[in-house]
Amino acid sequence: MITIADIVSNLNSSVLAGSDKLQRPVKGAYASDLLSDVMGKAREGELWITMQTHKNIIAVASLKDLSAILIVNGGKPDEDTLATAQSEGVVILGTEARSFSTCGRLYKLMEGDALV
């Protein structure tokens, strides 16, 4: 199973919070910008791909035990949000790339794992 570190090195993304937790496994991924959709459909241990940057993404990721958040389109949460992520143990990655290409590259990277 791939880890967050594999995603950082293969997807041209940077670590915005939680740099001490990059060995965490990534079991799959879910892409959505609607918080209650993620609450309902994302699974434990998955990576969440979104363009949302406001503070509530931390609660969603931590309540659902998601592996990490990957913010696309160069979006950056504010300092307060990043500090909260760090203290709650939530990993946030960022990429300049858009959602579609990010998902495509990630899918290729994970194809060996049982994707559902």
């Binding site: 209650s36 309902g40 509530n56 609660a59 969603v60 931590s62 309540l63 709650e88």
Partner: protein, 141 residues
């Protein structure tokens, strides 16, 4: 064990605070992580609904070995038609709230799916009471 949290309408910065706090407490009790996650999801949705749709509210959590009881009472506009509100996709969320990624109209159905017993009462122009019961052992009911 009993816990109580105040929830302020419109305060999206703090939304989820009560749920996160309770989740930490539940994790310390060595409950099945899957059950803790279900409770976390339903609590969060109820908490955010107060923030997004009501003026203020209080969340009371009562934990005993057999079940977790979450009671969320708010002062607010109330829900005129609960059956309609329960439908996935139905939302009266404002544009501002939708921009933040809320307003998919899935919160109530997430609560339904993630609790063993969901009970909602509402009075128009007064407020809404949401009662959620989750049993600690899957299968028990």
């Amino acid at each position: 064990m009993k816990f109580e949290y105040l929830i302020e309408g419109g305060d999206f910065i703090r939304a989820g605070h009560a749920s996160s706090d309770i989740k930490k407490i539940l994790n310390q009790l060595n409950l099945d992580p899957a059950i803790v996650r279900r409770i976390a999801v339903s609590m969060y949705e109820a908490e955010v609904n107060v923030v997004a749709h009501a003026f203020r509210g209080v969340m009371k959590v009562n934990i005993n070995p057999e079940r977790i009881l979450v009671l969320v009472e708010d002062e607010g506009p109330g829900i005129p038609d609960i059956a309609q509100a329960m439908q996935e996709g139905y939302s009266t969320a404002s544009d501002k709230v939708r921009e933040m990624g809320f307003g998919a109209g899935m919160g109530l159905s997430n609560m339904k799916k993630n609790t063993d017993i969901l009970d909602i009462h509402s009075a128009i122009n007064r407020g809404t009471v949401v009662k959620m019961t989750t049993f600690t052992k899957s299968g028990a009911s």
